[in-house]
């Protein structure tokens, strides 16, 4: 079955200029370095990688919260990375974001109603329509209508995150970037939010780009997964393929480092050790980004950057060894 492509990222680059003490440019921090992939309609695309690997920057560049240096983001046949401002405004409401920290993402001076109707007002809805839609949204995220006039600090973390979700889905979006939506929540509340995201996805036909610290959770909810390392995508495949038959040495080490919530299996599993720590993205290695920590690295790896190739059908990796 041929799946419909909703969003295509092509050779996307986002560099942050680095300046010395006197303001002269001394180089680039390559946060997103030549990343290409597609997201199909209705799927959950998981992004994993260590902090500083560029997951959030990639997501925010796709949403045009950050301006891309080069490359394109094609959303429904339109290149939104190079769209004139007025055209982009029409599409803005179709791409939304859910933030990590529900404590700082909501304005404490606003009531729940004001928070949720902000995107609606921006889309030019009348007062009456807004009112109705807010009620509908609160119901959608399992909150009471009476909560409308309360302030965000009166709610627990899980409820606040639900307000954040209501805000994100308010303007009938098609694509939502979930930037670590469960990382700040208590363990027993995380499942509530994950289930809600899944339900909404089915009801509203949403497409997600999902990141989280908890890799077993990303594995659980994603259809396909992309693994990032120092700004570049090193592996991409279905959730099962990436977790069960990882190709890239970094993915192998990363996945074997996940603590399994099962003592018996934990005792049996062999961890692939990974030496050292993530190099600073300011002086990323020249060839393969992973060569400084890779146990199999050769001279070729240190000199030449490997291509992103399809190793098995639908399973891509960036490594000379494969």
């Amino acid at each position: 079955m041929e799946q419909e492509v909703l969003l295509e990222v092509k050779n996307l680059k986002k560099y942050f200029p680095m300046k010395n003490f006197f303001g002269a440019k001394i180089g680039d921090l390559k946060a997103v370095d030549d990343v290409s992939f597609v997201i199909y309609k209705g799927e959950t695309f998981g992004l994993v990688g260590e902090s500083g690997c560029g997951k959030s920057t990639l997501g925010r560049t796709i949403l045009q919260m950050l301006e891309a240096d080069s490359g394109s983001v094609i959303f429904k046949d339109k290149d939104i990375a190079n769209l004139p401002k007025d055209k982009w405004k029409e599409l803005r409401s179709k791409l939304q974001i859910i933030f990590q920290d529900p404590y700082s993402a909501l304005n404490p001076n606003w009531t729940v109603k004001e928070l949720i109707q902000e995107p609606l007002k921006n889309a030019g809805m009348s007062r009456k329509q807004c009112d109705e839609r807010v009620r509908e949204l609160l119901k959608m995220v399992n909150m009471n209508e009476e909560d409308m006039h309360k302030f965000s600090y009166e709610f627990s973390g899980g409820q606040r995150q639900r307000i954040g979700i209501a805000r994100a889905v308010a303007s009938y979006p098609e694509f939502i970037f979930c930037d670590e939506p469960i990382s700040a929540l208590d363990v027993s509340v995380q499942a509530q939010v994950v289930n809600m995201l899944k339900d909404l996805q089915q009801e509203l036909g949403l497409t997600y780009l999902f990141t989280a610290h908890d890799l077993s959770m990303v594995h659980h909810i994603s259809d396909r997964i992309g693994v990032m390392y120092l700004g570049s995508m090193v592996e991409l495949g279905t959730s099962e393929e990436v977790f069960e038959n990882p190709l890239h040495p970094y993915t192998k080490a990363l996945i074997s480092a996940i603590p399994i919530a099962d003592p018996e299996l934990g005792r049996k599993s062999q961890r692939i050790p990974i030496q050292g720590e993530l190099p600073s993205p300011m002086n990323a290695p020249k060839g393969c980004r992973f060569c400084t920590r890779c146990p199999y690295a050769t001279d070729k790896c240190r000199e030449e950057r490997p291509e992103f190739r399809e190793i098995r059908p639908g399973h891509f990796a960036r490594c000379h060894m494969l």
Binding site: G157, V189, E264, E277, L278
Partner: protein, 325 residues
């Protein structure tokens, strides 16, 4: 195995603007020699406060009472503050979650380490430095001589956590309390630090209390696990007992709500409705009653007794039919 530390009926109350908040409501807990005991629970469940109460690290607004805190046969509740001070750090040491804020940015790593050593051991500055370098080597920091002269900002997160572990080990404590030592770190670094802790426990024969909310970390690290909820220790048992035969409804629900290998991918997780109780509206009875699907009126009113299921496993719930203690 004999007990290194025995906590009997620990109660901790904070006096706050909104009145008294009972953070710990009668915890009994033993730490055995040369074991890793995990304390698992959500934020606000009292897992850190329990161990901080034992260490005496809480602010003055906290009132700590206990029937007994027996450490190596001595009752800590009968000791004077001055005696306790030499106890802490030397016998028990604690490491914290955030390696970024636990070090003074204006002092070198060497200063941090030698300060601790000089304080507890009668050694010259030269000797202290030699000990410090040896400690850094033991926790796997390359070229420790040079690293001694560097400042915390020159270290990465994982390396800082190693420095903090080495500081805690300087006085060769018998009990190391690790309060979410890897929460701020990435998975690959987390695995390195957890391996280090396991190794150190084996080499030195010390006991480790590992506080965390991550059931995955617990499964792979601990010998025994204590589950806390709302200031009460709801269940305690060997790691296999907790994961394969959980008794308390909270433990069961918690294990069902996280993705585990046997759960098919994409299947609905069984979420626990509601949110954990806050300290100011704690139910009189079982703290989990508000979210428990089996709760009866009795659960809300009366705190359940401990029921014993085996030599190692016990739980606090009215609905369980194990032997009464």
């Amino acid at each position: 195995m004999s007990n290194l530390l025995e906590i009997k009926n620990l109660r901790t109350t904070f006096s706050t603007m909104q009145g008294k908040a009972d953070a710990i409501r009668g915890v009994d807990l033993q730490v055995k020699e040369n074991e890793i005991l995990g304390i698992v629970g959500e934020s606000g469940s009292g897992k850190s406060v329990t161990m901080k109460s034992v260490m005496g690290l809480l602010p003055r607004s906290a009132k700590v009472t206990a029937d007994a805190l027996i450490y190596k046969g001595e009752d800590l509740t009968k000791k004077k503050e001055k005696e306790l001070r030499s106890f802490r750090g030397r016998e028990m040491a604690m490491i914290f979650q955030d390696p970024m804020t636990a070090l003074n940015p204006l002092r070198t790593i060497g200063y941090h380490l030698t300060e601790v050593i000089c304080r507890y051991r009668k050694v010259s500055k030269k000797e202290a430095e030699a000990i410090a370098i040896e400690m850094l080597r033991q926790v796997g920091i390359p070229s420790p001589e040079e690293r001694m002269k560097q400042y915390p900002h020159e270290f990465s997160g994982g390396m800082r956590q190693r420095v903090i572990i080495s500081m805690a080990l300087c006085c060769e404590p018998s009990l190391l309390i690790a309060d979410e030592p890897t929460t701020a770190l990435d998975v690959t670094i987390q695995a390195q630090i957890l391996d280090l802790l396991k190794q150190l426990k084996q080499d030195r024969g010390m006991s480790v209390v590992l506080i965390s909310h991550d059931m995955g970390v617990m499964a792979n690290m601990c010998d025994r696990i204590a589950v806390m909820y709302g200031g009460v220790l709801v269940e305690e048992g060997k790691v296999d007992e907790i994961f394969y035969q959980p008794k308390h409804p909270y433990t069961k629900d918690l294990l069902r709500s996280i993705p585990r290998p046997e759960v098919t991918r994409g299947a609905r997780l069984q979420a626990i409705d509601g949110a954990p109780p806050t300290l100011h509206n704690m139910p009189k009875g079982c703290p989990f009653a508000t979210r428990c699907q089996y709760a009866t009126e009795k659960c809300f009113e009366i705190m359940p007794e401990t029921r014993v299921f085996s030599d190692t496993q016990n739980a606090k719930c009215h609905l369980l039919t194990g032997k009464e203690e």
